[in-house]
Symmetry: C2
């Protein structure tokens, strides 16, 4: 495995690989890798000849009051995990490579970007769309893999790629969960053991919503309420948002006809956790 | 020469050409081709194996009061010119191919986009940046050629490509002028013969600025004033803006130290004409 620090070097590698007819896969990450990321690597490796993991804590997707400074960073540990996972290149550029001096260029998807996660974190998805597009240009992958845990992010990336005609296939891989059902997340490292226990209510709430959906009398409200009751039961979580959306349009759902996604964001102490459930 | 109407077909051609190691050049146009566009085609052909001219009257770069509806369109004539010029593919997609239904994605370069041409045409450069990036993704060119007449557009495209790490070389080719020095433009077709005569003051004004720059006592004001006097001399033109900018940053110039660009936009009757002069 090679560690590539500069964008121009990464592009040179990508160009040569493409010239030789090799298919490239990209797994964009912010590091602090866990089993969830490694599942994305496996999904990429099944589809390509050459697997690139980018590690970049993207400043433009953090708000001024957010955890950019304390976000966990450990390039040595992350690289070791990538070696074991069969990654070919770790691309870990300095910020000035992805954000060169001069007036910035922004990429923004209208619509859902300002709702749900976008309402809680203004500007977040502009930062995400912009950095993902830069990474796609630098790495030139045939396939890029994102996690379903960040469902709205995956939707926005897919929409951007479709609308801007980026010639990369976007694959969204299933959420990896801990034994108690809590979705793996780099931010779980912030949790105290008490908070970690409280977080167990999130997967139970999603399961309650799934069960409520089975009822012949199910409505949007009854499904959301089933999850809400579980999340609020023991007082260890504070709901940021809990919304049922249409999976295809990411618009707020008014009926249960069609594929739906229940989105949840909660504060667990000072840590914000995301999850979602297809219904 | 082949006429390609669909984006996916164009991308398929581009992929195959790249697999064979052929270099692709793109000349993005809105059609109504003239000798200026053909000079861009020649600049592209010198650099690549395969030359694509896109013809697309991009709705998102026109303001609501502008000339989108009456912009000249003649695909048969344009295609004939492209055949003669040795173009390999004319890519002329329908609007729904470049702007598929659903929430739009916008690309925006901060800074100069809101000044000069951007101040006169709010949203114009957002439309330009967005459509150019889509065309770069669809056609996947190694080189794309733009005209120096639209200097601010060329600056913004170059900045976008650099900042987003698009793997395409941007070439800016010299302005082609008529015998009287008026820059070729598809919008010259709107001019009456009287207006066409009045437009002759534009290149004379740029030449007056160039001459004023030679004086040892030259200042930003004296250079701009030299051009202004010529533009206002016979009353046939109304200045929209006349500004001296730094060529590199596209910031308004406060001194004459370094490469400068005099930008001019005038109304000639109801037609807006652009030109510029390097100083």
């Amino acid at each position: 495995m090679d560690l590539v620090r500069r964008a121009h070097a990464m592009t040179e590698i990508a160009r040569k690989a493409r010239t030789r007819g090799r298919r490239i896969g990209l797994v964009p990450t912010m590091g602090a890798l866990h089993e969830g990321h490694l599942a994305l690597v496996r999904a990429a490796r099944e589809r390509v000849d050459l697997c690139v993991v980018s590690i970049f804590v993207n400043p433009t997707q953090f708000g001024p009051q957010e955890d950019l400074a304390q976000y966990p960073r450990d390039l040595v540990r992350d690289s070791d995990l990538c070696i074991t996972a069969g990654v070919d290149y770790v691309f870990a550029p300095p910020a000035e490579d992805l954000y060169p001096p001069g007036p910035p260029t922004w990429v923004e998807v209208e619509g859902p970007s300002s709702r749900f996660e976008g309402a809680s974190r203004p500007g977040h998805f502009r930062g995400v769309a912009t950095v993902v597009l830069k990474l796609l240009h630098v790495v030139q992958p045939h396939v890029a893999v994102f996690g379903r845990k960040d469902a709205q992010q995956a939707w926005i990336v897919r929409r951007m790629v479709q609308d801007l005609h980026v010639d990369t296939e976007i694959v969204v891989a299933p959420t990896v969960r801990d034994r108690d059902g809590v979705a793996l997340s780099s931010r779980n490292a912030y949790l105290s053991s008490q908070e970690r226990a409280a977080a167990g209510a999130i997967p139970r709430a999603l399961e309650a919503a799934r069960a409520a959906r089975e009822s012949s009398a199910a409505t949007v409200d009854s499904v959301v309420q089933a999850a809400c009751s579980v999340l609020e039961a023991d007082g260890g979580l504070r709901i940021d948002y809990l919304e049922l959306v249409e999976a295809e349009s990411f618009e707020r759902a008014t009926t249960l006809d069609g594929e739906r996604l229940l989105l949840v964001a909660v504060f667990c102490g000072r840590t914000r956790l995301l999850d979602n459930q297809a219904l």
